[in-house]
């Protein structure tokens, strides 16, 4: 077989555009590690096209649910002549595409999930109106066809493709008769491998492992025109407007439909043409680069992010310092602490500031110090959250709370349940239904309070009689800090246990924080100030729009970020 060296060939480029339908275009992202395209030239003047794609969907990408395949612009074909499958399972949802001039394959239940892979195969038969006469220095007429196989939008694909393109010439040709045309844009060898296929057709094969899924490659062949019907070969070089031909079609229609009908047709076609030339509108969409979940927050920091009420957060800090044996409650109402002289080393900054605040005897000064501590805490959480998604992080910690409760509720014995409850106390307290859920979980059964609980209630020193709970099983508290006494801890009925914790929260509200809304306002005014109205980012664009941004709030939530929605209505405890 010899290389075609003619310089002028009458061909029309057949644009076969195939791409994944970008319904949610930003989300699609995949690789096409393997692709094979076969074009069979049939003796009836049609072609059969076969596409074989191996898709590797990206881990966080949109599921590949539809594949749209463009068909040659001027070609003729029927949906009934198209078959397809995905991983060998027949695709029944084959329709004309709304997005490309071609067909849409709906993968349905066999869609390729994120991180998954799949093979899509499509075969289209009886595709017509594709051939042109070639200008060849040959002893007979030659027909030609150029073919650009599928490519994908560059935004949606990555990696290289091992692409094989096969032209199967019509049966009955010798290996000396057809010619191949230098491919365009092709990263591999221009010269194809040639052979006879299983049907004894001349086969030209181009293959490259360094093709791109978004690459545009054009392959062509010419062959003696006698092997296909002359009527299947276009005589025009390109499809262009030819007035005489247009009138040749218009006049008969005019005769048949009358003047009004043809005006209607003209208007309809003109409108259709105009619309085709306009761009497809989708509402403006913005995606921001950022990390997802911020792990490693303490329960107190998570509470800030989850916009829990301030008094609950203060209670959590109290429990934390008590647990670390840095302080002990000496009076519940009004709340007073005895801070240990030697503090443990693992105290966090907000815990140190909390203890410092309680050294202050003046109520107003203490309140102010606690506000300053909370302001710093909110800002710290804000710093930690930079670059991470608040939404996803909140969802993550909600899941931790949920699992903490699950561990408690799934415990098989009251003792184990109580132990789990004690262990998970840092997180379960964040549940807005903490009180009712504790009651529901334990009913009238005993709840063994955490080993450090005695430090939160001075009355426990006298065996917990004032807690109202029966002392069913004593637990020796470990000595801590400078303490060396042994104390018997109470176990309480569920309702009393919850009430005890809530009582501590209320002690904060009443005795330390005072007016909770006012206390919170003193914090959010600093962490989330009302923004100064600024001009539009784009100064010359005609002023601001509807205006956005955060603002100081007068509710009891922490509101760690500017623009916080402060959705605390009724929430918290």
């Amino acid at each position: 077989m010899k290389k075609n060296r003619v310089t002028s060939i009458f061909v029309a480029l057949l644009m076969l555009l195939t791409f994944i339908q970008p319904v949610l275009a930003q989300d699609y992202y995949f690789e096409v590690p393997e692709e094979q395209v076969d074009v069979f030239i049939e003796t009836d003047g049609t072609i059969t096209i076969e596409y074989y794609y191996k898709f590797q969907n990206a881990g966080s990408a949109h599921v590949i649910d539809f594949v749209d395949i463009g068909m040659p612009g001027n070609s003729t074909y029927q949906l009934s002549d198209i078959t397809a499958n995905v991983d060998g399972k027949t695709i029944t949802d084959i329709t004309y595409s709304d997005y490309v001039d071609g067909i849409a394959l709906g993968l349905g239940a066999n869609a390729i999930p994120a991180g998954g892979s799949g093979v899509v195969y499509m075969r289209a038969e009886n595709v017509g109106n594709l051939f042109y006469f070639a200008s060849e220095n040959e002893s007979e007429d030659y027909a030609s066809i150029n073919f650009q196989p599928s490519y994908f939008g560059s935004d949606y694909v990555s990696g290289n493709t091992s692409l094989t393109f096969n032209f199967h010439l019509p049966p009955g040709l010798t290996d000396q008769e057809p010619r191949w045309i230098n491919p365009k844009g092709w990263p591999g060898d221009d010269t194809p491998a040639s052979a006879f296929d299983s049907e004894d057709r001349v086969l030209y094969q181009w293959a490259s492992t360094s093709a791109s899924p978004d690459g545009r490659y054009t392959f062509g062949v010419t062959f003696p025109a006698r092997v296909i019907p002359t009527s299947a070969i276009n005589t025009e070089q390109t499809v262009t407007y030819n007035p005489s031909q247009v009138w040749g079609t218009v006049i008969p229609i005019l005769c048949c439909t009358g003047i009004f009908g043809i005006f209607g047709l003209i208007i309809a076609l003109a409108v259709k043409s105009a619309k085709k030339r306009r761009l497809k509108y989708l509402p403006p969409k913005i995606a921001i680069e950022g990390h997802g979940i911020k792990r490693g927050l303490t329960s107190v920091e998570a509470a800030i992010l989850m916009e829990q009420p301030m008094d609950k957060i203060l209670t959590m800090i109290l429990f934390a310092v008590v647990k670390k044996e840095a302080a002990e409650v000496t009076n519940r109402d009004p709340l007073e602490l005895k801070v240990e002289e030697t503090l443990p080393e693992d105290l966090r900054d907000y815990e140190k500031a909390f203890l410092e605040a309680f050294k202050e005897k003046n109520a107003a000064a203490r309140r102010k110090a606690l506000q300053a501590m909370m302001v710093a805490l909110v800002k710290t959480v804000g710093e930690k959250m930079k670059g991470f998604s608040s939404k996803e992080t909140v969802a993550y910690y909600e899941e931790i709370i949920k699992k903490a409760w699950q561990q408690v509720e799934e415990a098989e014995t009251p003792e184990v349940r109580a132990e789990k409850y004690s262990d998970a106390a840092d997180w379960t307290i964040l549940d807005k239904d903490y009180e009712t859920r504790t009651r529901r979980t334990f009913g009238t059964g005993p709840v063994f309070m955490p080993y450090w609980w005695w430090r939160t209630d001075p009355t426990i020193g006298s065996a917990g009689r004032s807690m109202g709970g029966s002392v069913a099983k004593g637990t020796s508290a470990p000595s801590g800090g400078n303490q060396s006494r042994t104390i018997t801890l109470p176990n309480l009925p569920g309702s009393n246990a919850a009430a005890s914790v809530i009582g501590t929260v209320q002690a904060f509200s009443a005795g330390v924080v005072g007016n909770l809304t006012s206390f919170t306002g003193g914090i959010t005014d600093k962490t989330n100030p009302v923004p100064v109205q600024t001009s539009s980012t784009f100064r010359s664009s005609g002023g601001r729009g509807s205006g956005m941004g955060g603002g100081g709030h007068s509710c009891a939530c922490a509101c760690a970020c500017a623009g916080c929605a402060c959705a605390c209505a009724g929430g918290g405890r």
Binding site: S158, Y241, A270, P284, I288, E383, S389, P531, G542, G549
Partner: protein
Amino acid sequence: MFKKIEDFFDSFYTRAETIPAGIYLYQAPPDAELPYKLHLRVESDGSGILILNASTVLHLNQTAAEYTYYLIKGMEKSAIADTVSQRYSIPRETAEQDLVEFMDKIDALVNSQDLDPVTFLDMERVAPYSQKLSAPYRLDCALTYRVSDGTDASVAPTERVSRELSTAEWQTVMKNAWQAGIPHIIFTGGEPTLRDDLPELITYAEELGLVSGLLSDGYKLAAKKYSLDLLEKGLDHILLLANPDDKRFWSALKVLMPLDIAVTVHITLTANNCAGFPALLDKLAKADVVSVSLSVAEESLSDELQKAGEQAAALGMSQVWDLPVPYSASHPVAFELADQKTPQGAGKAWLYVEPDGDVLPAQGVNKVLGNLLTDPWEKIWKRH
């Protein structure tokens, strides 16, 4: 037959084209309360990337990119609504409403940096560097591998290059980068301030519209006149490599912190300085440092690094990462996301240019992708 008639009518209409691909800059006017630079990179398919102050990366669909393009071009809101309405054949009210909502979101992002855009602005989140890019976000240019007096010369891979590009050659590199759609350049080294033409290069970057940053030991920046000159030329941010034992570092901080420029201090945590790290952070905070970059020299110190990160947050310091600093890949977020297969930015979101113009995926990743002075950008990018 109808097809031919349709083609006939088609020939009377000009095909609507997407907005022209390229990079466009919007800079806040001098009297704006917040100084900011917005870079819009329009891709060939009409979609875009909007980069706020060289840090926040937004991916825009075709419509959003088009609105941004008109806004950057200074078109009035009503004219934008008219244009979009006509081009897309949609009601003018729809275009105007979408434009207003879009502008509000951008305003909110620019003016309220702590805002969670997913929760409050209804934006989607995509993992950093997970999208296919036509060009990186940043180019790190090692102007020289020479180092300051008193610095161990072995820290710079001088054996890799035989010469330094001239001023004109670096300007060509910058121009090539800008034309490729790269909005941000960092001058690094060695010690870039040893290049006498640094002010000239900053001036050229400013003229092009590039955001420019400087990674330096700061010794020359301790001279206030020199620092002010760089700022005047258009330098946008400075990354200081901390050397707490050298008083020149502290002198530089003293000069720089009162100036109107963003300064980040980078500290590498090592086994030697680990014990004194909390005190160092405290000292930096007292020196008014509000932004730090932390990394570790060995993975075994990752816990210490996390503690340092906690302390920095408690001190109100913002943390930045993915900068061309020593052990740049070993930062707190990298450790935190170690099990999440996060896409790497080196070679994709940023590239590194050696003093002779050779392009590497990142500092220390010695795979030459081409030479930015002599090779076409497309060839270099194809190899990344």
